[in-house]
Symmetry: C2
Subunit: 90 residues, 2 copies
């Protein structure tokens, strides 16, 4: 995991907004990564950062993929992943 990656989970969205804005102090691009139902929160985070906090940040890339995970019954199931790269124009 790179240093400039923020993993989006189930906490309130502003926690992740703060994490991304903090990463932008040291990096010109930040990667937001989320799985399953947290995907919509990742999109919210990117939009809030871009519209309200780091206005010169742009969406450089969005990548979606699938990962196989084991649930608590030991069954294999697929989960979707999103990876949003935000980039600050210098």
């Amino acid at each position: 995991m790179e240093e400039n990656t923020v993993l989006i989970g189930s906490k309130p969205v502003m926690n992740y907004v703060l994490a991304v804005v903090t990463q932008f102090n040291d990096n010109d691009h930040v990667i937001l990564r989320a799985r399953g139902r947290a995907i919509s929160r990742a999109v919210d985070t990117a939009e809030i950062v871009r519209n309200s906090f780091v206005q010169d940040a742009e969406v450089a890339d969005i990548h979606i993929s699938t990962e196989e995970v084991e649930n608590y019954n030991g069954e294999k199931t697929n989960v979707s992943i999103i990876q949003i790269t935000l980039e600050k124009s210098i």
Copy 2:
């Protein structure tokens, strides 16, 4: 709204998979559009279509944006939008 657009809402994901696969019978690209919490379902739909039903389909573009909506109290609130374009290589 273009004919080849599938709006993703809160129904089971396979409903939308079927809608996208059907659209691919007449179109070489299909647009999946979702708001708010349905965004993760749009990503699931795209991944299931691509991995299991239309194997020559690729993600041509993913666009995220924000829309202002009025909730039932008449208050304005922002909602995130995703638009995923799947394209079949001919």
